[in-house]
């Protein structure tokens, strides 16, 4: 291997590890949302419950475009390397601090306020990190292989989720449920600081991007990246095109395939949480290599075709795939083993269990919260064959994600000039992914819940898909008509 290749491999590894850790930090909050809500957001306090919903479903995503503006501007002014070192420290510090916050029982209202503030900082940091890493790698990579090299950065978001789920599962497995609920949930947050320190050490020795260094040496860097990016019609039209013709659809394909699939299985199908996470982890791991394959392919046949194909296939297959996922878990038409149905009353809790001839089992824990209110928690376990069937569906969803997401970093980098690249590509990316994509699972769950209450449609569990299908369709039309065909990757 030549020196140049070794150096590029080091650059990609160092950039990717840092980005992966940022995704890990961002995701553990979502994965531990249930535990966090009991520690920091008591349900008997309406304000705390409101802050919980805000922190869990919206704040971290909505703030990402602001992080893109703040850190994108810095990256175009002082350089890519230093900026994404700052975002890494900010993310690591915020994540570590969440692990240290005393509970609501100890410090009262300060607990939810601190958690929400730190979640906002996490979102800001993530808003700055991705654009920096993608730009940095792309500016080192040869133009004809940019799709391949930046696709490694694209794998980090998926691997970050896998690692976050793995760390949580390992921590849970290493202690009792009581210990995990008491203090164990803090470990995945605290562990983050070690990962961040290692990543900082690796990144410390990296050099500034050659394109940015050259532009700086020639005095060709922007004095006001925000004004040049968004105050100038010539560039703003490209920002809008990148958003509505690419990142909006790509963000929705990503969050529908990777996150809504999890929410759908857990909350709408009521699949057991351990089985859900296992299915997701296996599906994600099987699908991850496709990011690199489609990234490399985009160097040969162009970025636009692959991204648009991924979105079009997603639009037409979402309803059949999610319908089949629902039917695979649904026990309505399964045969109950005679005598297996049991009801146990314990205080104010009634537990109903059933077993089915195909190996599935059903558990419903009904708790009487007050004289006129009960809460029901259904958990269904499916047999191994059905589990692998669901892995197959998740893999299909992830493969659409890899088509839309694999080439996007190279695509965005090639759309904007060096001097305003960090700012210009970060904003459409984080609006598309953070706002349109990030809010998707919450909006879709809300739409399903409304449809179930209204009871006017035949399959209310599919209603949540209307949101991504509508917006991805608009994105495909704009992308196909307005984005220049790039059969040969741009230089």
């Amino acid at each position: 291997m030549s020196t140049k290749k070794q150096s590029l491999a080091y650059i990609i590894s160092a950039s990717s590890v840092g980005t992966l850790i940022e995704w890990y930090d961002f995701y553990i909050f979502g994965s531990l949302a249930t535990v966090l809500s009991t520690k920091f957001f008591p349900t008997d306090n309406p304000t705390a419950a409101f802050l919980n919903t805000l922190a869990t479903f919206a704040a971290g995503f909505v703030v990402r475009p602001f992080g893109a503006l703040v850190f994108g501007r810095l990256g175009d002014l002082i350089g890519r390397k230093y900026t994404f070192m700052v975002t890494l420290m900010l993310m690591g510090g915020a994540t570590f601090a969440i692990g240290l916050i005393p509970s609501y029982a100890t410090i009262g209202a300060w607990a939810p306020i601190l958690v929400l503030t730190l979640r906002l900082l996490q979102g800001l940091a993530l808003g700055g990190e991705y654009g920096g890493a993608a730009t940095y790698v792309a500016e080192h990579a040869p133009a004809e292989r940019r799709g391949f090299f930046t696709s490694w950065i694209q794998t980090t978001a998926t691997l970050g989720l896998v690692i976050s789920l793995a760390v949580i599962m390992a921590t849970r497995a290493s202690m009792s449920k009581e210990a995990f609920d008491d203090y164990g949930w803090r470990i995945p947050f605290l562990v983050s600081i070690l990962m961040v320190l290692v990543s900082l050490l690796i990144r410390k020795n990296m050099e500034e991007s050659p394109m940015f260094a050259k532009a700086k040496a020639e005095g060709n860097i922007s004095k006001n990246p925000l004004k040049e990016s968004f105050g100038n019609k010539l560039n703003l039209k490209y920002v809008l095109l990148a958003l509505f013709g690419a990142t909006m659809g790509q963000g929705l394909v990503w969050y529908t395939g990777q996150f809504y699939a999890q929410t759908f299985l857990l909350k709408i199908c009521n699949l057991d949480d351990i089985q859900t996470n296992m299915i997701l982890v296996i599906g994600l791991l099987l699908g991850t290599p496709l990011f690199v394959i489609f990234g490399a392919l985009s160097d040969k046949i162009g970025r636009k075709g692959i991204m648009m194909a991924g979105m079009i296939i997603a639009v037409f297959s979402y309803r059949p795939i999610f319908d089949q996922m629902y039917k695979t878990v649904d026990v309505t038409n399964k045969t109950v083993i005679p005598g297996s149905e049991k009801s146990i009353l314990n205080g104010n809790t009634m537990t109903i269990t059933k077993e089915f001839t195909d190996g599935s089992s059903y558990k419903n824990v009904i708790t009487e919260v007050s004289t006129d209110k009960t809460e029901s928690k259904i958990s269904i376990k499916i047999n191994e064959t059905d589990q692998w069937t669901l892995v197959g569906y998740v893999f299909l969803l992830i493969s659409f994600v890899t088509m839309a997401y694999g080439p996007i970093a190279a695509f965005l980098v090639e759309m904007f000039p060096t001097k305003i690249r960090y700012t210009s590509m970060s904003l459409p990316y984080h609006i598309g992914n953070g706002v349109f994509g990030g809010l998707m699972p919450a909006i879709a769950t809300f739409l399903v819940s409304n449809a179930q209450t209204a009871g006017v449609v035949q399959k209310p569990y599919l209603e949540g898909l209307n949101y991504p299908i509508a917006l991805i369709s608009v994105c495909v039309v704009i992308g196909i008509i307005y984005i220049k065909s790039d059969k040969k990757a741009a230089s």
């Binding site: 419950a49 919206a58 909505v62 039209k237």
Partner: protein
């Protein structure tokens, strides 16, 4: 193709404006009235999605109508 882009400009302006009105009047307003945890989606519809889609799409449509995307 340029003619199609320009005609579609009107569609995007209409779609952006329509989506903004739909999100605020038919989605957000009933949620504001309910209050409680429904305020979170109400805030998202009113202050995030509606302005983003209506202003962004309309501006995109306006540029398209003006022929800004003709040479892309």
């Amino acid at each position: 193709m340029n003619l199609i882009k320009r005609i579609l400009g009107i569609v995007w302006i209409g779609l952006g404006s329509g989506a903004g009105i739909y999100l605020i009047y038919f989605q957000a307003v009933p949620l504001w009235a309910k209050g409680g945890n429904d305020l979170v989606p109400a805030i998202i519809y009113t202050f995030v999605l509606a302005p983003l889609i209506s202003i962004g799409m309309s501006l995109f449509g306006y540029y398209s109508l003006q022929g800004e995307f003709d040479k892309i």
